[in-house]
């Protein structure tokens, strides 16, 4: 690319990826991607979901074999498709989804596979003392004897990093490492990374969070649609430019004026479940309530609760001021709660069912059956109606839903929900993994439902999304809910504190 002259003369790169191309069927995941990584350098790999970052790293790591191109570490070409080769060459990867066995201890997870399988002893004492030494050196405090299942998310990430360091890796790859961390844990992670750079390690930092990229990297590579579209020295660029490069143009944003609160449609009074403590929340007609928070802090539990999958252990759940006699998904649906689940593949749809069957999954008994006999003709025309109304691009209602893109799948689920004219809508990560067009479509529809008087609960890890759409905001941390903040009442610093569990009174 353009900046090769700048990086020349710094000796052999520690890592070189050269003209990497990888396709999956018709989808081009990486096209002709080349870059070098030098000793003591942090490269940020920036790109939206689906830009090809993870595929590129999986090729480096031997999980995939590239169609074309080579990977070299310390000047040596790595054999393709061999995860072991990358590890042995000194590349360590901290995966976005932790690769830890919960039932094993910290040291067992770290030592796994490092000594050869056929030894007669695990050399536990030596392993543990090496781990303790590394912990100290890199400020990665964790007990080697603890069961991994008992650790916090932040601690688990430390174990992941220790796994790489334990193998004396010289190159660290971190895939979206901050997605699961509080701002404070992120700071600690950055301190560890700076320590590592000072000791001569090199780092590839994969992220789509601009401020973090600006804070930690020395060079930024931007991937879009599988191609390397830009390379910048961090000091020569800024967040606005990177944002434009990443999305490839300006983004249209739904314009949502503030609205006054209507009557309370759903109220939680001091509700506790296994993962929620004393949660109080009110959803008002004609408002979007945003739920911010680091993932894994009880969002799923709250969503499951309102969706009817779990019942309160104590406290009251009121719909239109009344407590339902029992609580189940069926009850939630008959209370006109529309549910957009977090995982559209596992929870929201049945992959091998066609669009018609998926469209009537929640209403077949009430609307498309009489005395136990299905009305398939009615179901198919309903599905066709959803396809037309919600712009679901597909060959027709008899298509199996697994063949649809994420965006079209989500549009069908959205249509399934909105067509029932819900008074309350739970949208859990409604735009995760969607392209910009689909994101705007979903946001526009949610805003329209709010105009029509629905009470919307928007759960998202993306703060920008919450800030753009919400009339009021709650923050969730370790199963506890912050008070409601009106739009504009929270600044970034304040929000960060609540997300880390340090806001307000309950932290005492």
């Amino acid at each position: 690319m353009t900046d090769h002259d700048k990086t020349a003369g710094r000796g052999t790169p520690v890592l070189q990826m050269h003209k990497i191309t990888k396709t999956f069927g018709n989808v081009i995941a990486n096209e002709n991607v080349s870059f070098d990584l030098h000793k003591g350098e942090v490269i940020a790999l920036l790109g939206e979901n689906g830009a090809g970052k993870t595929t590129l790293m999986n090729i480096l790591f031997g999980q995939y074999t590239a169609d074309h191109g080579t990977v070299s570490v310390f000047g040596q070409r790595l054999p393709a498709g061999n995860p072991r080769a990358a590890l042995d060459a000194g590349v360590g990867m901290v995966h976005q989804h932790f690769t830890l066995a919960g039932n094993l201890t910290v040291w067992e997870n770290i030592a796994l596979g490092t000594k050869g399988l056929w030894g007669l002893s695990m050399h536990a004492a030596a392993a543990k003392s090496k781990i303790r030494a590394l912990s100290q050196k890199f400020h990665l405090d964790v007990d080697p004897n603890a069961k991994v299942a008992s650790l916090t998310v932040g601690q688990k990430q430390r174990v992941e990093i220790l796994k790489a360091l334990y193998r004396d890796s010289q190159i660290l790859i971190l895939d979206e490492p901050t997605a699961v961390l509080t701002p404070q844990e992120t700071d600690a992670l950055f301190a560890t990374l700076r320590e590592a750079i000072a000791l001569g390690l090199s780092i590839i930092f994969i992220s789509h969070k601009l401020h973090e990229v600006m804070a930690i990297s020395s060079r930024v590579l931007v991937l879009r649609h599988g191609r390397l579209v830009a390379e910048r020295a961090t000091q020569d660029t800024n967040r606005d430019e990177l944002a434009r490069l990443m999305v490839g143009g300006d983004v249209a944003q739904p314009d949502i004026p503030m609205r006054p609160a209507g009557p309370a449609l759903l109220t939680l009074n001091n509700v506790s479940t296994d993962q929620l403590q004393d949660v109080s929340l009110t959803l008002h007609a004609g408002q979007i309530t945003g739920l911010a928070g680091v993932s894994g802090n009880g969002q799923s539990a709250l969503s499951d609760l309102i969706c009817g999958l779990i019942a309160p252990k104590s406290g009251d759940l009121l719909i239109n001021g009344q407590a339902p006699k029992s609580w189940s998904p069926r009850r939630a649906l008959s209370a006109r709660i529309g549910r957009i689940p977090e995982d559209r593949h596992k929870t929201g749809s049945i992959a091998d069912f066609d669009l018609t069957e998926n469209a009537i999954l929640e209403t077949y008994a009430q609307k498309f059956a009489k005395r136990g006999w299905m009305n398939w003709a009615g179901a198919a025309s309903h599905a066709q109606h959803l396809i037309d109304t919600y712009d679901v691009r597909c060959p027709g209602p008899a298509t199996r839903i697994r063949l649809l893109s994420g965006g079209n799948m989500q549009k069908l689920i959205l249509g399934r929900v909105l067509e029932e004219d819900p008074q309350i809508i739970i949208a859990n990560q409604p735009v995760r993994g969607l392209d910009i067009g689909a994101v705007n479509y979903v946001h526009g529809r949610l805003a329209a439902a709010r105009e029509a008087g629905a009470a919307v609960l928007l759960i998202s890890e993306d703060l920008d999304e919450i800030m753009k759409l919400s009339d009021q905001i709650h923050v969730i941390c370790e199963g506890r809910l912050s008070p409601a903040f009106a739009r504009g009442q929270l600044d970034a610093a304040n929000l960060g504190k609540w997300m880390a569990g340090e806001g307000g009174t309950h932290a005492a």
């Binding site: 549910r339 596992k346 929201g348 999954l361 006999w373 299905m374």
Partner: protein, 349 residues
Amino acid sequence: MRLEPITNPSVLRQSMPPILAILGAFAVAALLALIAGGDPLAVFGLIIKGAMGSKFALLETLNRATPLIFTGLAVAVAFRAKLWNIGAEAQFYAGAAVTAALGTGVIAAPSAILLPTLAIGAALAGAVLLLIPAILKTRLKVDEVVTTLLFNFIFLLFISYLLEGPLKDPMGMGWPKSARLTPDARLPRIVDGLRLHWGFALALICAAALWVIDRKTTLGFEMRAVGQNVEAARFAGIPVNTVVLKTAILSGGLAAMGGFSEVAGLKGSLTLDLSPGFGYTGIVVAMLALLNPLGVVFAALFVAAIFVGADSMSRAIGVPTYLADIMLASALLMMVLAILFSKYRIRSG
């Protein structure tokens, strides 16, 4: 090596598995026939001749297929809902036991009343027998594979107790068998003079009914949804546990109807060797049929033909009749493998 999903498999590709499985089974059988000192072509010729070479052979095959249709349907309906019922053998015997207990003169009624009573009683017994593991599964998450398997042993011992105690035939000269059914309790022949009873017709009716349930009713929709993705089904408000229990009733009932048909239609009394593993063979039948109710009929006919043909072949040239069992086991394994390759292709890297 990696498996890559084929996004839009052709009809040809989707219909290949049963054919490949059958061809594979024959290949394995040919090899073993050679080892056993038989000429494979002669062995296959004798199997085919023994299965359908004469009116007698053909009727024998249809009679043998009848219980297999019932157990095949029982397994298919359960497996479709991911209820792993390996206990069709016990449920089959439950139906047979009820038929033998109530059909030997305990209820004095004309055929028109007695036969439906026996059939329903048998189905209920089978349903109850599968409901126990199903409830253990839904309430306590006990794996139903092992419980239904163990139930087979328990129930066979129970049958043995019945045949030596309460149901013992006083005229049986010490053999563990029940008394013969009264004439009113016997399923008549479909056509006079042909040794084929109404149980076969009942099996076909059950297959058609199951197909209708599967495609046209809410229960069928619910069972398929639970089988394909239990999490999504639960989220959508489908009462998953109730559906599993209804599936159990249907599955256990169907297997038990097989026992009723076999006792009332063919054998006339209950013995310990009433079933040469119809319940287990039902698994193969269901898999060969890709769990499709109508496919079960054809798969059962095929499997029955192999068994009947192998018996006759074995009598003629002495290659052990267990060749049939080996063919079915190979067909089962090749079937699941072939289904995989109808959906995925192997890619390197």
